[in-house]
């Protein structure tokens, strides 16, 4: 008897495509992240059909850190917006000081625990800085919720149709066998 799957690869691929499209739409605010959204081929291993999407896989952000860290921060919030509810410290990695323009700061620039002084080009120099973190955007959560409400009923219908097809094929095969 023909082995016919209840869930086809095309069903899962369609579902995953809906999710990937929603993710691309919800990550419209970052082309860097959006470009790394990848819908991998769905596979059928012994009747178990699965698919997966990766975001930021093997990619690095502008600082050379894994992009997944940035994605996680924007998904759930970081620093004072995250679970720790505290600023986090950024300290220099390859140099002894951090230096950048800070238009909001006004002289006098007094050396302290954080501030080291002034640097070239009107920049200020720091031993370390405290970053408040980023607010939660929840782009992945929004996409998953939107896709589940829209694509799950479609997937249910497709699976129901597959079951009907399997029953029809089986009945036909039984009829053929009994007619012999």
């Amino acid at each position: 008897m023909a082995k016919t799957p209840i869930v086809k690869i095309s069903n899962i691929t369609k579902f995953m495509d809906s999710l990937a499209r929603s993710l691309r739409s919800n990550f419209a605010w970052s082309s860097q992240i959006r470009k790394t959204i990848r819908n991998h081929p769905a596979t059928d291993r012994s009747g178990n059909v699965s698919g997966f999407i990766t975001i930021g896989e093997n990619e690095k952000d502008k600082s050379g850190n894994p992009l997944s860290g940035m994605i996680r921060a924007f998904e759930w919030g970081s620093g004072i917006h995250g679970t720790k509810r505290a600023k986090y410290i950024i300290s220099p990695k390859n140099k002894t000081r951090l230096a950048f323009l800070w238009p909001k700061a006004t002289p006098p620039y007094i050396r302290g625990r954080k501030l080291a002084g002034t640097a070239s080009g009107g920049r200020l120099s720091f031993f370390y800085v405290e970053h408040p973190g980023v607010q939660k955007r929840g782009s992945i959560e929004k996409s998953v919720n939107a896709t589940l409400s829209k694509a799950v009923p479609e997937l249910k219908l497709a699976i129901r149709q597959n079951i009907v097809d399997i029953i029809n094929i089986t009945v036909n095969e039984i009829n053929k066998t009994t007619a012999r």
């Binding site: 016919t4 799957p5 690869i9 691929t13 369609k14 495509d17 990937a20 990848r38 081929p41």
Partner: protein, 141 residues
């Protein structure tokens, strides 16, 4: 026992004879490779083969030496629209569905199309479509 690499070799050799497809691939006949090929120099569009299963069909006398295999063909394209990806899929589908042939290592009976996936975006630049086939394989004496 017929090993996966021999089946894969036969399938790729067969695919490379489909000139209507190889003529439109970026690398010609070299544009057809296994899915997990670990090189990084290739051109789009391309076709990739994934041998998903190679199972022995049990018979008590063990005389048949019959196997059942399932494989998928993936078509990748970098065009702006999905047209090229779908066209190559159509060419492969028209050629392969229902055919049988004798390869270097085994005989392949009628290829049965068990799934056909329309083009979807794998990432922002790449289209992907898929054909899944099942066939019986008999080792050559």
């Amino acid at each position: 026992m017929i090993s996966d690499n021999l089946v894969q070799q036969d399938l790729i050799t067969k695919l490379k004879t489909i000139t209507t497809v190889t003529n439109v691939l970026g690398d010609g006949v070299s544009g057809i490779k296994e899915l997990e090929w670990q090189g990084d120099t290739f051109k789009y569009p391309c076709v990739r083969l994934d041998l998903e299963s190679n199972e022995y069909v049990f018979d008590e006398q063990e005389l048949c030496q019959l196997y059942s295999i399932e494989f998928s063909l993936y078509i990748f394209s970098e065009e702006r629209s999905s047209k090229q990806c779908s066209q190559i899929k159509g060419l492969l589908e028209n050629y392969l569905t229902g055919i049988g042939w004798t390869g270097t290592n085994a005989k392949y009976t009628r290829l049965r199309l068990i799934d056909s996936v329309p083009a979807v975006r794998e990432d922002e630049r790449t289209w992907r479509s898929q054909l899944k086939y099942r066939t019986k394989v008999q080792i050559l004496p």
